[in-house]
């Protein structure tokens, strides 16, 4: 489903080389590495948020390097869901509207019933009408998982989804993320240096 080959990225003279990975549809993996090892860069490359300099990424058989900027935007909107370390939302509209905007940006047809079931699964239904600033970090993170799942993606990428959360929320958020990915048969790749997650996932990739 997701394979990379000889992927590397240079910031000026500093070159980061990434290990080749291969992830099956519906499987889950943890990408570990200390700060400065290029975890975020790796994730952004996989998510098509930055241009591939050398090497290749194939998602669902598609060569990411060959997509135009616009095609990349569309592909990401349709097939990839991303959860960030600090969840950002459009501040002027409610959480439910935020999810609807996310749905509208993707080509995937999304019904309100699906949005509701997502919110239910993530236990945030009662917060739907709240504005982003009224939510706690943990609550926001749940919504950002809902947002990442809204386009029924093939691949979910999560960048340090738990490092800003306390232990209790960390376990809960990971569990929800993992469950939701399984429920949709989506592949899940979590990039983190959060040691708390190590014991929870078997497939681990280490960046050096």
């Amino acid at each position: 489903m997701l394979t990379t080959k000889n992927l590397s990225y240079s910031y000026g003279t500093q070159k980061i080389e990434f290990p080749d990975i291969s992830i099956e549809r519906g499987s889950q993996a943890l990408v570990l590495g200390n700060s400065g090892k290029g975890k975020t860069t790796f994730l952004h490359l996989l998510g098509g948020l930055m241009k591939i300099q050398s090497g290749s990424i194939h998602i669902n058989g598609k060569d990411m390097a060959k997509l135009s900027k616009k095609e990349m935007d569309q592909f990401r909107g349709d097939h990839i869901g991303i959860v960030f370390q600090s969840p950002h939302f459009i501040r002027s509209i409610s959480m439910l509207e935020n999810l609807r905007v996310a749905a509208s940006l993707s080509k995937t047809k999304v019904e309100d019933a699906f949005i509701n079931s997502l919110m239910e699964k993530l236990q945030v239904t009662t917060l739907a009408s709240k504005l982003p600033e009224q939510l706690s970090q943990g609550e926001k993170q749940r919504f950002s998982i809902a947002r990442a799942l809204i386009n029924k993606p093939l691949l979910i990428l999560a960048d340090e989804p738990t490092s800003a959360l306390d232990d209790e929320n960390c376990d809960k958020v990971f569990e929800l993320l993992s469950e939701a990915a399984k429920a949709q048969n989506a592949s899940l790749l979590i990039v983190t240096h959060d040691g708390r997650l190590k014991s929870l996932m078997n497939h681990q990739i280490v960046l050096n």
Partner: protein, 418 residues
């Protein structure tokens, strides 16, 4: 927009700029329309020497004081039906009023000239019979058979009342023509002479009947020693001005007549069309100043849209990046951002135009009294379409740079730091 006050400020400024420009457009349009309508194909006005513009304003538009009087004898030649150049003349005697409406001594054919007809009653048959314009009727609520005393000058005061002579009697009411006749009280020329104690020809015997009012015949008349003038000859009769229509407007002699009168006689002649253009030029200075002010306001409002969008870029970079992550293309972000400016522009433009028209409608009454024409806020003009297009273009241009910046946001750098 996350900051409603910023948006409100932008809309308000836009409203102000568009509203001011639009008000000028509407005002300009209606003034010119009315001025033009009241030209009534009058080619020349002849009156006493003074300011030609003042004579035109007083004789054609009835908004200024007359320049003085001229003897009927001095314009006799122009009134000769066999005059080779002139097809029609209308004498005007101006100087009295009733409740702020001017009483004009003239001839019946003025109705035809201004394309106005009676809707009630009949034309005057005797002295002191008057025919009133539609606005006069509406404002003063006069009916056929009502009588009133005129006052000297255009302001109604006790000591200027002509209450020592027989009162005027309403015998006819004119239909509304949108011309200045709507605002006038018309009578024959000899009535005006009679009021001022001058014995003209064809003087009716209206002195004694219809006298339901108590006349204070002992009231001292200030300045109108009519008893002494009773003996004077008809040659001394005066009018205020003469409206002239040419047989052929473009004939060489007709065009020269104006200069001939001004150079060779004690009279003054002026062309309404020329004086009107002079007036437009003079008004133009004021209008231009206002228009420039409106333009500056419009630019400031554009700047406010620009600044608030630009500032919001910094605050919203995460939102924008997230929208890109979720599949929003650069074009999508560009259009989102420029729509935000455009919406401010659209709201501001709409409310500006609305405000201008409401303002015009509210002040129509004040203006009507001052300029003697009805104004309305309900008419819309072609120029306003141009105004809308230009206003929206300005709003769009103000948001183009922020929109481009929004579309070029670096997702990786933004989110890697967030």
């Amino acid at each position: 927009m996350h900051k409603p006050l910023n948006a409100l400020l932008g809309i308000l400024l836009f409203t102000l700029g568009v509203g001011l420009v639009d008000f000028l457009i509407v005002m300009d349009h209606q003034l010119k329309e009315k001025f033009q309508k009241n030209l009534a194909e009058i080619d020349l006005v002849i009156g006493a020497k003074g300011s030609p513009l003042q004579m035109i304003l007083s004789s054609m538009y009835h908004i200024d004081n007359p320049t003085g009087n001229i003897s009927l004898e001095s314009v006799k030649a122009f009134r000769n039906p066999k005059h080779p150049l002139i097809s029609n003349t209308i004498p005007l005697s101006i100087g009295d009023s009733y409740n702020g409406f001017r009483i004009i001594g003239t001839e019946e054919k003025i109705l035809e000239t201004y394309k106005t007809e009676l809707v009630d009653g009949a034309m005057w048959k005797e002295d002191f019979d008057v025919v009133i314009g539609s606005s006069v009727q509406k404002r003063l609520g006069l009916k056929l058979g009502d009588t009133f005393h005129s006052s000297h000058g255009f302001v109604m005061e006790d000591h200027t009342m002509h209450d020592d002579v027989s009162p005027f009697k309403v015998v006819g009411i004119l239909g509304s023509s949108g011309s200045v006749l709507d605002q006038l009280i018309l009578t024959n020329t000899s009535s005006i002479w009679a009021v001022h104690g001058i014995e003209g020809h064809d003087h009716g015997d209206g002195h004694d009947h219809e006298d339901e009012h108590d006349h204070d015949h002992d009231h001292a008349d200030d300045g109108h020693a009519h008893d002494d003038l009773e003996a004077e000859l008809p040659e001394e009769l005066e009018i205020t001005s003469l409206l002239v229509q040419f047989k052929n407007k473009k004939s060489y002699q007709a065009l020269n007549m104006l200069r001939g009168i001004n150079e060779n006689t004690d009279l003054m002649a002026a062309s309404p069309a020329l004086e009107l253009n002079r007036l437009y030029d003079m008004m133009g200075v004021g209008t231009d100043a206002l228009r420039n002010l409106a333009l500056i306001i419009a630019l400031v409002s554009a700047l406010s849209i620009f600044v608030s969008l630009f500032n919001s870029l910094k605050e919203r970079k995460y939102e924008l990046a997230i929208m890109r992550v979720m599949g929003g293309s650069q074009g999508k972000l560009f259009s989102l951002m420029s729509w935000e400016g455009l919406i401010i522009g659209i709201l501001g433009t709409l409310s500006g135009i609305l405000a201008a028209h409401i303002f015009m409608e509210v002040f129509a009454g004040v203006l009507e009294h001052k300029y003697k024409y009805p104004f309305t806020g309900l008419n819309f003009y072609k120029e306003e379409i141009v105004l809308v297009v230009v206003a929206l273009l300005i709003a769009f241009l103000a948001s183009v740079i922020p929109a481009i910046k929004a579309s070029r946001i670096d997702i990786h750098n933004t989110l890697a730091k967030g």
